[in-house]
Symmetry: C2
Subunit: 400 residues, 2 copies
């Protein structure tokens, strides 16, 4: 299958490319290198050292004799996307090329605007280019479990039957996201449902949980590593906790720590995405998966991290709750459904309690790099303080 990965340089994009190549697919990719740049702007870096895209491609050629056609560019540039799809004529497109940090989107008005508009424009460019050039192509788009928020009822996979005033309909689940980033994914989901209705495009919309882990089975040497972010803007809670454990900082859950989210390992995320690609939806079908295996509260993550670091690295971890920078329910019901991928043959292969050993070992291996990130782990981005613009002189506008 000819598969185009948008966001091929990213945490998910790179291991997915490795997996798809190793399964015999023809892989091409594009990336704007947005995440590399933006992570540096907050004085952070991938904890794992990563090669440049050019070096990565060279490495794959050297190891496996396979070529990845790679283009540097931004999906929010319509001409770039049209040219790319015209050239590749892919059977499937994996769209991972969105700004993917909730805290980044909450830094201030300009980051909120950038996240909301660029993510939306990219997805819009894609569906127009698909209907104009490759109308039978399958779009596999990464959404997030965070689109649903934390309602007090079970969360279905995308759609469910609602009864109201004695009548019934099958409708999209009402979303309530927790950051501009998460809302950008809700807006994408809405736009994709409409694009499917307009042009019968075949689309898989993946509501993915939080992904953990540094490796998949194809990552058998350091030079194949994918990025791994641990700072307060670009890293997940688990990544921060593991790094804090290794560099002997207290582990810092936000608020009460009873916030509960769905999780899966990087290996299993790649397994799921591969199944989604190899078992595409029917022509004209829009399908939604909830893609996660386990759910944990932030406190449980902190405890697992502390317990494991104490056992394998001889640490003596402390857990210190800090003020929650986010606006979120700190205690809530959480029971999302996730059976559709299983019905396509997906079986979970990893568990957090095992994978966390690898994560801690990898951080330990790059402990010098972790030490350099000490000052960017604790929360600085507070949702309610998201900054506006500097107030200009009111006289700059014309009165009539």
């Amino acid at each position: 299958m000819k598969i185009l990965i948008l966001g091929i340089d990213g945490y998910i994009g790179w291991p997915l490319a490795l997996r798809l190549i190793s399964r015999g697919h023809t892989v091409s990719g594009a990336d704007s290198l947005f995440t590399r740049k933006r992570v540096k702007e907050v004085n952070s870096d991938s904890l794992t050292p990563i090669l440049t895209m050019e070096e990565r491609i060279g490495k794959i050629k050297e190891l496996w004799g396979k070529n990845i056609e790679y283009y540097e560019g931004d999906v929010s540039d319509a001409s770039f996307i049209y040219d790319l799809i015209e050239r590749i004529k892919p059977d499937a497109i994996v769209h991972l090329a969105e700004q993917r940090s909730a805290p980044y989107s909450m830094l201030g008005l300009s980051q909120a605007t950038e996240t909301l508009t660029k993510n939306m424009i990219g997805t819009l460019n894609l569906v127009y280019a698909m209907k104009d050039i490759v109308p039978d192509c399958h779009l596999l788009k990464l959404g997030t479990m965070g689109e649903y928020g934390t309602p007090n009822i079970d969360i279905p996979e995308g759609f469910f039957e609602i009864e109201y005033n004695g009548r019934k309909d099958n409708l999209p689940f009402p979303k309530f996201a927790g950051s501009w980033y998460h809302w950008s994914k809700v807006h994408d989901t809405n736009n994709l449902m409409f694009a499917n209705k307009l042009w019968n495009l075949r689309i898989t919309d993946v509501m993915q949980g939080v992904v953990y882990g540094t490796r998949i089975k194809e990552i058998h040497e350091t030079k194949l590593y994918t990025r791994f972010d641990v700072d307060e803007v670009w890293g997940t809670a688990l990544n921060r906790f593991c790094t804090q454990a290794v560099i002997d900082e207290p582990i810092t859950p936000y608020g009460k720590g009873m916030q509960r989210r769905g999780f899966l390992s990087l290996e299993d995320s790649i397994n799921c995405l591969t199944i989604g690609l190899e078992k595409p939806p029917s022509p004209g079908e829009y399908r939604v998966y909830n893609q996660f295996d386990e759910h944990y509260s932030v406190n449980e993550l902190a405890e697992i991290t502390a317990r494991t670091a104490n056992a394998i690295l001889g640490k003596n971890c402390k857990i210190e709750h800090v003020e929650n920078p986010r606006v979120e329910k700190e205690e809530h019901y959480y029971n999302p459904e996730h059976s559709k991928l299983k019905s396509l043959g997906y079986k979970r292969s990893r568990e957090l309690k095992d994978d966390i050993v690898n994560i801690l070992e990898d951080i330990q291996t790059f402990k010098d790099r972790a030490e350099n990130l000490r000052n960017v782990i604790k929360p600085k981005t507070f949702w309610r303080k998201s900054s506006g613009i500097t107030k200009n002189n009111p006289d700059s506008i014309q009165v009539h």
Copy 2:
């Protein structure tokens, strides 16, 4: 009350300004004159002749001795909005300054992108400027009944209780809009719910039905007219039908004509918005109104138009169904709730069967202008044919 009207030059904005002034409020306004420009681009014009904003302001000074502070600028320009709100420090902001044509948003990718991003950015700029400068200000934002789509169940006013797998929650009604324009309003609604949660802003989100009519009681002379669009891009079905009746063209419902929507008169829309402003939500409250009085199918609109034009203008109207340019259900259930405004004291004052006489008479008065619009009334903008970008040379991108 100090009220800032964004979009003061528009169909709703201008009569709202007249009403609020006549009720003793201090009115200021801004407009980018976007609609005037864009309507000219499709070789159309307001059927009613309208003054420039400067002339309008002069007229109000002359007639009522009242001043409107007016600024030309775009809400999608953050500096403009910050400066404006800093200068005015309004008690309430009415946000009508969005691209408001469904067909315009479906012309092609660039109009889709423009509609989705500029509408979103404007609303985002506003909530940031409010929380930074006037956190207690009331934002009254115009949404549309079209956000809900046409589900097979009753439509509540914003939120409803859902029971699923034996548990209950009060959640936003799941939206399903029918054009990029309508989706832009859904995205705004979602962003406003989140802004309210972040910063406790007080917001009224108005899900307004289709508005008909050329006048409100304050419009007692031609020079006070608001704009009235009748072309296929900027006009509503009823406006097109009435114009077709006057210029002896067949009345052309789209498709089967069983599509049903909520309607209210311009007079009553202004009544509703005024009640919304004079009875603001509590601090921290986000409230939603469904703002309409009656619902009609497109066929019913065509029949009322034909019957009335035959009776009062001696016409012999024909109704000719044309291919539906839109992607929409042509037969569906439709029963939205609309009791919240009534509970605030709103009483309907007009009915379509009476107002349509004024509309037809006004079009008859400006029959020469209507004749000039003959070629822009029938549908040219087909949803499924929304154009992408011209395909560039694939060699314009760099291969690595």
